[in-house]
C-alpha cells in the first residue's frame, strides 16, 4: 500500500516554535508553559485516556505528566527529537506505569474482562487531518498481525508477552511483527 518513498513531509514533523517554547519553559517562563499546555495537553490527555480508558485516572496522570514537563524541561534537547515526541513519550510511559501498577495491585481477571481496543476503532477515531489520514493509510499498509500487535501494545498498554497471549501467537513472532511493523510504518510516514 505504502510506497517505500516517504511522502513530502513527515507526519510527525518538527515544530521549531514548540521546541523554542520548551527551552523558555526550562528557564521558568510561565507564559511559555501555558503555550506548551495549549499545544500539547490534548495530545497527552487523549493518548493517556486511550491507554487507561478511565477519564478521571487519565486526568490525574495527565496532570502528573504536564507537571513533569514543567519540572524536567531543561532535559529536553531539540537536536534529539521533537517537543511533541518528548512530551508524548513521557505521557505514554506514565500511562503504562499506571497500567502496570494496577495490574500488580488488582486481580488480573478484571483486566482480562476488558475488551482490547478494536483495531478499527483506532483508525476511525483518527481525526480527519491530513496527518491522520496518512497514518490511517500507513496502518492499512501493515499486515493484520503487525497492526494488531502495534495497536494492542501502544494503545492497549499491553506488554508484547500479553499481546502474544491475546493473539494466541508465539512470543518471538509478536516481537518481530512489532519491529517489522514499526519499520514499515516509520518508512511510510517518513519520520526520521
Amino acid at each position: 500500500m505504502c510506497a517505500a518513498r516517504p511522502e513530502q513531509e513527515p507526519a510527525e514533523r518538527a515544530d521549531p516554535d514548540l521546541d523554542k517554547l520548551l527551552t523558555h519553559v526550562a528557564k521558568g517562563d510561565q507564559a511559555a508553559f501555558e503555550a506548551v499546555y495549549d499545544r500539547l495537553a490534548s495530545s497527552a490527555y487523549g493518548l493517556i485516556r486511550k491507554v487507561l480508558r478511565n477519564p478521571s485516572q487519565a486526568e490525574e496522570v495527565t496532570q502528573e505528566v504536564l507537571l513533569e514537563v514543567w519540572r524536567t524541561a531543561s532535559r529536553f534537547d531539540p537536536a534529539r527529537g521533537s517537543a511533541a515526541s518528548w512530551v508524548l513519550t513521557i505521557a505514554h510511559r506514565r500511562a503504562i506505569d499506571r497500567v502496570r501498577a494496577e495490574e500488580a495491585a488488582t486481580a488480573r481477571e478484571q483486566r482480562a474482562a476488558d475488551v482490547p481496543v478494536p483495531v478499527d476503532e483506532v483508525a476511525e477515531s483518527v481525526e480527519a487531518t491530513m496527518d491522520a489520514e496518512r497514518l490511517r493509510r500507513c496502518l492499512a499498509g501493515l499486515t493484520e498481525l503487525q497492526r494488531e500487535s502495534i495497536t494492542l501494545a501502544y494503545y492497549g498498554g499491553y506488554t508484547y508477552a500479553q499481546v502474544a497471549a491475546l493473539l494466541e501467537t508465539a512470543l518471538g513472532t509478536i516481537k518481530t511483527r512489532i519491529r517489522d511493523g514499526l519499520t514499515r510504518l516509520r518508512d511510510c510516514l517518513g519520520v526520521s
Binding site: 510527525e12 507537571l67 531543561s74 500488580a104
Partner: protein
C-alpha cells in the same frame, strides 16, 4: 533464561512502545548503551509512536489547565543535565522506576521519573488543592509554604515504599530543616475509630510525628512533621482515633531516611 544478543536487538520495537516488562526493559537499556544501531532504530520507532499518539488527541477536562498551571508555580524545576550518557540523551530518556519497590533517590533534583516523581507531583498538587479549598486560608498558606520549603530544600531526599496496608508511602526529608513531608496513596481505608500515625523511629525509641489525614480519592494530603534527627526512620502504625504517645501496633511501613 538469558536472551541472546540478537534476540535482545529484536526487542527495539517493543521497547519503543513501552511493551517490555521491567526486567526486560532494564536488560534492553543496558544493551542499548553499547548498541548504536539500536539507538538509531529506537529513535525512529519513538517518532513513529508519536505519530500514533498524536492521532489519539482529545479535549482535556475543564479545570485541568488551571490546576496544572497552579501546580507549576509551586514546583521547583530540575537543573539542566551536564553529564548525561550520550545514549540516554540521544533518546531523551529518563529512568522509569519499578513500582512497588523501595528506592532511595539522592538529591531531589536527581529524581527523574516514576513513582517518586509522581508522588512528588501529587504532594504539590494536593498542596495546591488544599490552598484553594480550605477556609483558614492564612494558616493553610503558611503550612503549604512550609511544605514547599522542604520539597525545595537543597538537601531534600525522597524515600518511597509499599506498605503492608496496601499502597505506597512517600517521605521527602530535609535533615537541614529537620523536617519531613509525608504522603501516601492507596492505603487501606480505616474505620473512623482508627487512624494512621507517623513516627520518628530509632532503636529503642519512637517519637510521635503526627496523624495522617483521611485520604481523598486514595491519596492523603501532605503532612509536615518537625524533629527529624540523623539516623531516624519514618514509620506508620494504625492507632486508635486521636493517636497515641507510643506505637501499639506493628508499623505498616518503615522508611529509612539516608543521612
Amino acid at each position: 533464561m538469558r536472551l541472546r544478543r540478537r534476540d535482545l536487538h529484536a526487542l527495539a520495537g517493543a521497547y519503543a512502545l513501552d511493551a517490555l516488562d521491567d526486567a526486560e526493559r532494564d536488560r534492553f537499556e543496558r544493551h542499548l548503551r553499547r548498541c548504536q544501531a539500536c539507538q538509531n532504530e529506537v529513535r525512529g520507532f519513538a517518532a513513529t509512536a508519536t505519530a500514533l499518539g498524536l492521532a489519539a488527541a482529545a479535549e482535556p477536562p475543564a479545570g485541568l489547565r488551571e490546576r496544572v498551571l497552579a501546580a507549576a508555580t509551586v514546583t521547583r524545576q530540575l537543573p539542566p543535565v551536564t553529564a548525561t550518557p550520550r545514549w540516554r540523551r540521544a533518546l531523551g530518556l529518563s529512568r522509569v522506576s519499578t513500582a512497588g519497590t523501595t528506592r532511595t533517590f539522592g538529591m531531589i533534583p536527581k529524581i527523574t521519573t516514576g513513582i517518586a516523581a509522581a508522588a512528588l507531583a501529587a504532594v504539590v498538587a494536593l498542596t495546591v488543592i488544599t490552598i484553594s479549598t480550605n477556609n483558614s486560608l492564612h494558616a493553610e498558606r503558611a503550612r503549604s509554604q512550609a511544605i514547599a520549603a522542604v520539597l525545595a530544600a537543597p538537601d531534600a531526599q525522597i524515600v518511597s515504599g509499599p506498605t503492608t496496608a496496601g499502597g505506597v508511602a512517600t517521605v521527602v526529608a530535609s535533615h537541614r530543616a529537620g523536617q519531613i513531608v509525608f504522603t501516601s496513596s492507596g492505603l487501606r481505608v480505616l474505620p473512623s475509630s482508627q487512624v494512621y500515625e507517623l513516627w520518628f523511629l530509632r532503636p529503642g525509641s519512637a517519637r510521635p510525628a503526627g496523624l495522617v489525614p483521611v485520604a481523598v480519592r486514595g491519596s492523603t494530603a501532605p503532612v509536615l512533621a518537625s524533629g527529624l534527627k540523623a539516623g531516624d526512620s519514618v514509620g506508620v502504625t494504625v492507632e486508635p482515633a486521636g493517636g497515641t504517645s507510643a506505637p501499639t501496633t506493628t508499623p505498616i511501613v518503615v522508611l529509612e531516611v539516608p543521612v
